[in-house]
Subunit: 440 residues, 2 copies
């Protein structure tokens, strides 16, 4: 029982930026489409109670208020997540709703609100420089035209995309952000928002410097919380990250209740730590597994989340797999790093593009445990190569034995991925030799 | 001791086609470059004898005829290969050299000859529709201008790129070849060449139909034979394919003699059958391993050749890894096939390109054993993903657990590789169930 028809929230900024013509295009599957495959969709319907013991749900139509109960054999909860709103004084009204000119960007309704506000906006402020924050900045910049107005990004972290890439890899992207007319204020906390004719925003930097900004439009993009209301009703175990705990079969702690997507918590493939699911790629894979298992099949997702993630921003492509170096270090793992900048084609062939690959290798066994790629082309597919390697517990030395495709018009004999692996392998071998010498 | 400085033979057609300005650009490493790293290069020098027992080689300078002997601890033979010339009546002079207007394309000298001949050529015929044949056809077409003259391709095989892709995958490419003004004559043998003012060429199709063609320029591109003269002198074992047999450390059968590149024979990763090395990507990996081992290090290439191969032709990219379906069937393996055509981006996002993925799966254990990809973009890197999987002996079902990178502007949630894997996995599971039922 899904309360709404699947929409592509992540593509809302693409409509705002004018890349996609209409929000209607984002609805991939209509209720009719589902009906054709024998799936009944009850839209505009809210589930108000779950009885996991007697296996039924109670729901109410938002159109006419009629209540209905439905028995189930197995229930799949796929309630997604709700944008976080940071506790900034002034950001909400008394009823908890966002004040005028302040938006989150999760649903098509959010995007329509922003679309209405933007035409009269001259100063836009985005709180949060993660994936959605940056993608929104690009869309607003593109919609406003590059010469007009101001788009600013504020983040408490010292660099953009902090959960995706390390500071050294973010730097290339920050140059691109700046050159496209977006101001980035790193290590900055918004301390107050006042709404009058415009919004007045007060900020404080990590060094304690105060600043004031005006904004006609504020987009809050500081991540999401899993929507676990139904999971709680069903009695499902909620994990330390706040998501519904699921196993590889998408089973919750309650018999007959499965969960999939952003409302769930699973574990990191590399570190084993609990991790919130927050990617569409994971959600569809969990959805498939939950659905198959709920009707009696047997399928599993991988042992943990690789978190393969990518975006295209201001002409650059960025992708990452597994934890960042910073995150690994927080978990007590000090990875060996192999980092190389080279070209996507041989030096003598015209049209090669600059690309940087950073590989993270486990110091104990030389397993590949993380990767980040930034460049002009061929970025996300190189990350897919590295995701395949991480999923196979491949040692970095094995990369030197991997034949990558070569043709001068397409790729060099030794791809940047191979070169980065060689750098990491050489370092790992040397470290190992040094350790053995010390222990002698 | 390398008789010539490394050149990029595969890129010669790129200079002919005008993509690369000058043949000089193809020489990546000069004798000076090698000297800086302490490597002495004796160019214009021919090795005339190898004494592998007493470990010395005899060489003669082609410039002044002086003879010299050099002792060695370990010898690396990297003599490459020589273009095959089919035994067509009339193709050679009495001394065995090619008649006027007929060329192979392996060295810069070959390409210079073609370049001189092409300006007065109106009818060009290429014998062999493999990688080099097709790349040459594109280069000639581009150099002649699309409206002028005629470029024809003849092959004894019924489709292009017969050692790279199966007939079903070649078809897309053949459409593109035709639409770019190149005639392809499949299943056709050249039976005679006569040189007068023009060349007169007689052909016979598989059905016995005879035809005559005129050509101002003929390029022979029917593959290469390993150059094993030095290997034989050293007493190295020559394999059934005609190459110097090497192991994973690039050791030949003779102590102290290593070999690398196109002159060697190694084994197929999937079938274990002897296979000639014929790719630059393999050659550089073998060269690294041979070099390291020859000076006392320990390195190995993979257990066999994946033969990851790619090209970009007439606006299409093609790539393949491992044996084709046809080749596997010849070896007694009847693979399960998963084949999908989809888009490189979600349906609702503009700019997605058509791409076809064909996966070959071992019927016994569902291991991925081969892959072919054809499309407008992102082809060779998807083949690299599949090469990584084959090298890891990944089962095709594991692909459904692989998180590929997703962002609407970059890639769909379920990539064509995932969809093809799902198709193969579904078919494999059904076949397995049928077999179990039959055996009950």
């Amino acid at each position: 029982v899904s309360p709404t028809v699947s929409t592509h929230v992540v593509a809302c900024h693409n409509v705002l930026g004018g890349v996609i013509d209409s929000f209607d295009n984002l609805i991939e599957y209509s209720p009719e489409w589902f009906r054709r495959f024998g799936v009944q969709v009850k839209h505009s319907t809210e589930v108000t109670a779950v009885d996991a013991g007697r296996r039924f749900v109670t729901m109410v139509s938002l159109a006419n208020g009629e209540e209905e109960t439905i028995d189930y054999d197995n229930l799949v909860i796929a309630t997604g997540s709700i944008p976080k709103v940071p506790p900034i004084p002034g950001i909400t009204r008394h009823d908890g709703s966002l004040i005028e000119r302040v938006f989150t960007l999760r649903t098509i309704e959010d995007a329509l609100g922003i679309a209405r506000a933007i035409d009269s906006a001259n100063h836009c402020l985005i709180i949060g420089a993660g994936l959605i924050g940056l993608e929104t900045a690009e869309a607003l910049r593109s919609r406003m035209g590059s010469a007009i107005g101001q788009v600013s990004l504020v983040d408490t972290e010292p660099h953009v995309l902090a959960t995706m890439v390390d500071p050294d890899m973010a730097r290339v992207l920050e140059d691109s952000v700046a050159s496209h007319g977006v101001d980035f204020l790193p290590s900055t906390t918004v301390t107050q928002i006042q709404s009058e004719v415009q919004c007045h925003v007060k900020c404080r930097s990590a060094r304690g410097e105060e600043s004031s900004h005006s904004a006609d439009l504020i987009v809050v993009a500081v991540g999401c919380n899993p929507d676990i209301a139904l999971g709680k009703m069903a009695g499902c175990l909620i994990g330390p990250t706040g998501g519904i705990v699921v196993d590889g079969c998408c089973r919750t702690s309650i018999s007959g209740v499965y969960a999939a997507g952003d409302c769930t918590e699973y574990r990191d493939f590399v570190t084993g730590h609990p991790l919130l699911v927050g990617l569409g790629s994971v959600a569809v894979r969990q959805g498939r597994v939950a659905g198959i298992n709920a009707v009696g099949g047997v399928e599993q997702v991988a042992e943990g989340l690789l978190n393969s993630r990518t975006t295209r921003l201001f002409g650059l492509e960025v992708a990452a797999v597994g934890p960042t170096q910073c995150e690994l270090q927080e978990r007590g793992i000090n990875p060996i790093v192999g980092k190389v900048t080279s070209s996507t084609r041989p030096a003598y062939f015209p049209g090669g593009k600059r690309i940087t690959v950073k590989l993270l290798v486990h110091p104990d066994d030389a397993r590949l445990i993380g990767a980040q790629v930034v460049g002009d082309e061929g970025v996300h597919l190189r990350a897919d190569v590295l995701a395949t390697a991480i999923l196979s517990s491949m040692k970095v030395g094995r990369f030197l034995q991997l034949e990558t495709c070569y043709a001068p018009s397409v790729a060099p004999t030794l791809d940047c991925v191979t070169l980065a692996a060689e750098a990491a392998y050489t370092r790992w071998t040397r470290d190992r030799r040094d350790k053995e010498r010390t222990s002698d």
